[in-house]
Amino acid sequence: MKLTLKIWRQKGADKKGQLESYNVEASEHMSFLEMMDVLNEELISKKEEPVAFEHDCREGICGTCNLVINGRPHGPQQGTTTCQLHMRHFKDGDTITVEPWRAKAFPVIKDLVVDRSSFDRIIQAGGYVSVNTGQAPDGNAIPIEKDTALSAFDAAACIGCGACVAACPNGSAMLFTSAKVAHLGKLPQGQVEHAARSKSMVDQMDTEGFGNCSNTGACEVECPKEISINNIAMLNRSYLSSIFGSNK
């Protein structure tokens, strides 16, 4: 299949960027990133600068890859990271636009690479259970209802890619933050710090320059792990209780 790519090229954080056009020939069996590899090999063979983009595991779990494809974070396929998107979902002759995540709290580093270290700082603000190595009781000491464990798992499945922020018109990190608060808050181990955690993580989110949530729901639609916005409701509740003092 013959494709036209319009790719965002930007030399550095303080430089101006623009879309540039490239032609590439791909096979429908390739993944989207393998198609990008083909383009880069061609550019290198012409001694031109390859397109910088991030990727690592290429099996949809590390959360590194992050392309906005035809205006949608991770492209058109529901519940799929960029690296797991295959070219069979495109047609011969298509023009595909490829852009970086765009959000104030994710500044562009180069081309399609952005800085997501703000996510790490949100986790550092309380996204953990305070337990030192060696302090744990036996793993079976606290039975946890199967459905509770599964629902905590659903929230814990977040891969920290940032698609939710890229999808949000406000550039909000509420889905990311709430997924962590819900993961830990649903489990008895995480209950002790639940309210305090909610407050400190939201405060850090605000400090980083993420926007507020206005319930558009775009984050849930674009999340490659299909994390539910119900988590945001849970976060709102625990955030309020952290302010008004009730933990229930």
Partner: protein, 667 residues
Amino acid sequence: MAGIELKSNVPAGELKQKWSDFKGTMNLVAPNNKRRIEVIVVGTGLAGASAAATLGELGYQVKAFTFHDSPRRAHSIAAQGGINAAKNYQNDGDSTYRLFYDTIKGGDYRSREANVYRLAEVSADIIDQCVAQGVPFAREYGGLLANRSFGGVQVSRTFYARGQTGQQLLIGAYQALSRQISTGQVSMYNRHEMLDLVKIDGKARGIITRNLLTGKLEKHAAHCVVLATGGYGNVFYLSTNAMGSNVSAAWRSVKRGALMANPCFTQIHPTCIPVSGDYQSKLTLMSESLRNDGRVWVPISQEDAAAIREGRKKGNDIAEDDRDYYLERRYPAFGNLVPRDVASRAAKVACDGGNGVAPTGLAVFLDFASAIERYGKAAAHSKNMTNPSAAEITAMGKEVVEGKYGNLFEMYEKITGENPYENPMKIYPAVHYTMGGLWVDYNLQTNVPGLFALGEANFSDHGANRLGASALMQGLADGYFVIPYTIGQFLSHEIRTPNISTDAPEFAEVEKNVQDRLDQLIAIKGNQSVESFHRRLGKIMWEYCGMSRNADGLKKGRQMIRELREEFYKDVFIPGEVAEFNPELEKATKVADFLELGEVMMCDALDRNESCGGHFREEYKSEEGEAQRNDKDYTYVSAWEWNETEPILHKEELEFKNVELKTRSYK
């Protein structure tokens, strides 16, 4: 370095008492001294993150490094199936000794008894720790932890979190690390790649890193250096490793005097999605847990196999009697759950015999039809359905299978475009894990004082073959429960050592070496991409040092690598500059190191005139085609010193006092 003596430093005493005696008598570092002692940890996967977090909790000043944009991205995250622990929650006869024995036997008697016993001993603590951190392990309806079985064992001791166990464990360790970063105990350096090791008076005292955003070299000093930098499977180009996984931190340490142990011990995982084309950048694993319920087969007749390859027939068209469930046939005791090396070789035999089922001829079926039926019937029974229809059974069975393996089936469908609930999966072996790694003693210290290696980066626990769900166990054992103790053996002698200064001339010298190396690479300005060299290296490795090896091939392969290396330094093209964000330069330094490691792997495989575990030499097999070990001559760890003309072999003899060396049989 003639005459390196490899001292294992295994404590005296009974096997079962060694670790507790060690902990009771080892040297301690007092809290007031911990506060001023600095430790560098390179890598933030399971081993690195758990080590950095725990050392921080203990009060050491830790500097942690990752080349990723965040410590949460390390490739431990992709581990699917689970983590072993000798909890015996299932009451099925498990014990510390049994986990130890299974691991020693699974490794084909090429690992160190005392290290493996310790691993089995601390395994239970890992589960407790992870549960306390909020890792959402699978649970039974009663709320207690669930287990499943993995290859090479006859008990259920594997804990899991759907098919994303590695992700959940890593997030647990990442959160513990994040907590230490927030308290200031750990300074985190993201997007920093270690490019060399700095030694002062023979001791590891620091590293040279490149800031990947700016391209600037930086000097970092500490009282000791801990490497938790993973395995080197990407020397094969195509592997289940992440694209960035590399050997450079370990290899640079080898070039500063550390030894690379058993480098030829590579694990080829039997259940991966088959190669489909030349453009392919990586291979994807389908978890071994699938072999709990999936049955492996090929058509008995070559005509049927050809018809499937050409698309004239599908797997489901082949009648039950015309299928060869070859693992069940050849290994009735373990069936589809034989260890990985055995399953991989059997798949190769089936495909080499002309019975493969993918267009390339290189794939076998992994079929869930029986499991779907079995689970469907069980579900009907528990719902008191007296006369369920076949369709109802299938529907209910699919639901159970989806609950167990849903995300794996989904991943398979995304990549191949085929629905594995309807048609059997096609799978083929692929490079997955490297048992070899830096040589370490009982304290996980390399032969360079002050340089430690954890997790996949060391060689210590898996011998010639790793059992499933044991990599996560080892990474976390090393990081949470071993290094926090054993590092004291070195650091207790360093309490009078003031902070190491990066102004020492040794730092300037090594930094210049690195700068020169980068300048040299970028100045080549040849005509071939880094990727093309990597791909060619991978083909040589797979052809001559892959699933089966022979002396002639290994000699030839070694020569080819030497030639490829020469060509690389004449004709590689790296765009851009050293002092900027330059992913092609990053790749080039990694491939340059793989081009040397690959040669040592060939030398190691050639030296080992036996077949054991993942190392299968065609000259050494039984009449039935099973691997033939040679305990008389090869019960040693090969530890290689780098030398441009001829790598030098050092040996650590292995002693087995608690298990009897037997022919490994899974029949």
